[in-house]
């Protein structure tokens, strides 16, 4: 069975497909509420959903069966001394280590759970970095949206913040340093780019088979790092992409040379370019990109795909799935060679993850 967790503006939709069948809505949870993100921790089988209630704020829930009752986690919530309140829970990421998970929120902060996601504690080391008062929000708020654990080393972690760049730790979150060398914030005047804290990371993923390799979709730019996020190499310019602006990013967990992006036209026009929905694939670490479009709308399709709304599974061949604010979800069971529409009329899609 294939299971997809689709966070939408009006609830969580669980899509399931039996082998050889089509995707069906197996469950809908949190009806009417904004489900920003949902994921299943493959180690424990536990599901998580980040829910922003329009009146009563953001809360994290978990369960072992998404068709049954969900329980509210203890946190993430800032401790009294932080003088802050969680505005939005952007991402939950299984970590390296028994029961360890990470959670990224707005305002930009990282939380850690050591009990399988039932309770959460602020990572004070990142919250207290001296430059934090100078961090600027992106259009979606000052958010920590990308968390990249290092398989086999629970002390190493990279996180991406819009728009405060990449932050790296080698000691489990006690101390942090920035990893922004090579990123070019073209949205700033040239003379301001050198000494800025405004690095608008849109998405970041680590290649688990080669953990020093990271891919990034930047606010104008696609980058790769070969040194665990210390420095970044432009892989978006003049290599076959119709635009280097966008949010979605996925990688092949089996192949560190292979990544996927879904470009949007531009900063000022955040829809699929030329009315065509195309996923772009690199198989050579970003030296070249090619369009994957068979089965995707190729005319009059101006879709917006958000940063958490694209994912790859761990299958061979690779499964790829993404959802749009139009309420459509598309999927490929063959690494992007062909695509089909697997849900056509959902509420605006905010996130898609394979369970």
């Amino acid at each position: 069975m294939t299971e997809l967790l689709v966070g939408t503006k009006k609830g969580l939709v669980v899509l399931r497909r039996e082998r050889g069948g089509t995707f069906e809505v197996a469950a809908r949870a949190f009806p009417g509420e904004v489900v920003e993100f949902a994921i299943r921790d493959a180690r424990s089988g536990r599901y998580f959903a980040s829910v922003t209630n329009g009146q009563f704020g953001p809360h994290l829930f978990y369960c072992d069966d998404p068709t049954a009752k969900w329980q509210q986690a203890e946190g993430p919530a800032f401790p009294p001394g932080a003088n802050a309140a969680v505005e939005r829970i952007w991402v939950v990421e299984p970590g390296d280590g028994d029961g360890v998970l990470w959670c990224g929120v707005a305002p930009a902060a990282l939380f850690r759970s050591g009990d399988g996601g039932k309770s959460w504690t602020l990572v004070e080391g990142l919250w207290n970095v001296p430059s934090r008062p100078r961090w600027d929000p992106g259009a979606g708020g000052l958010c920590l949206h990308s968390i990249c654990p290092w398989p086999g080393d629970p002390k190493r972690l990279a996180v991406g913040i819009s728009s405060a760049g990449v932050w790296l730790t080698d000691d489990g979150g006690e101390t942090w340093r920035r990893g922004v060398k090579g990123l070019v914030p073209r949205y700033l005047p040239e003379e301001s780019r050198h000494d800025t804290h405004s690095h608008c990371v849109h998405n970041m993923k680590r290649a688990p088979r080669q953990p020093a390799t990271l891919y990034m979709q930047f606010h104008g730019g696609v980058y790769r790092s070969d040194d665990a996020g210390e420095t970044w190499i432009d892989i978006g310019s003049d290599r076959g992409l119709p635009s280097d602006f966008g949010f979605p990013l996925a990688i092949d967990p089996h192949d560190p040379d292979r990544a996927f992006v879904i470009p949007l036209t531009a900063d000022a026009d955040r829809v699929t370019p030329a009315g065509r929905v195309r996923v772009y694939e690199t198989r050579d670490r970003g030296a070249s990109w090619r369009a994957l479009e068979e089965g995707l709308p190729q005319s009059q399709a101006y879709l917006t795909i958000l940063r958490q709304a694209f994912c790859a599974d761990s299958g061979k061949p690779l499964g790829l799935y993404f959802g749009a604010q139009s309420g459509e979800v598309f999927g490929s069971a063959n690494g992007g060679r062909t695509w089909s529409t697997i849900a056509a009329r959902l509420p605006p899609v905010l996130s898609v993850r394979c369970a």
């Binding site: 009146q55 009563f56 003088n83």
Partner: protein, 86 residues
Amino acid sequence: MPRVILTGSIRQQAGGLGIVEVAGDTAAVAVRELEEACPALRGWVVDERGSLRRHVKLFLRGAAVALDAPVGPNDELHIVAAISGG
């Protein structure tokens, strides 16, 4: 003791409880006592700084009030989701 009146989705979150008797002489204390009585409501009415959530309203004796409003022993404090959404 003052009573907190819950309706709609917050009543659901409280496990269906519509009326909760609480101690306290201000709305803030009443809300804190409510959270003690119903831990599932922690962070729902006020955030972790103790600030009333932007789209939550408190009503006392027919008027909207702030967290520092005095609450008497016979009062009913209504917690209401504001008319907002999208």
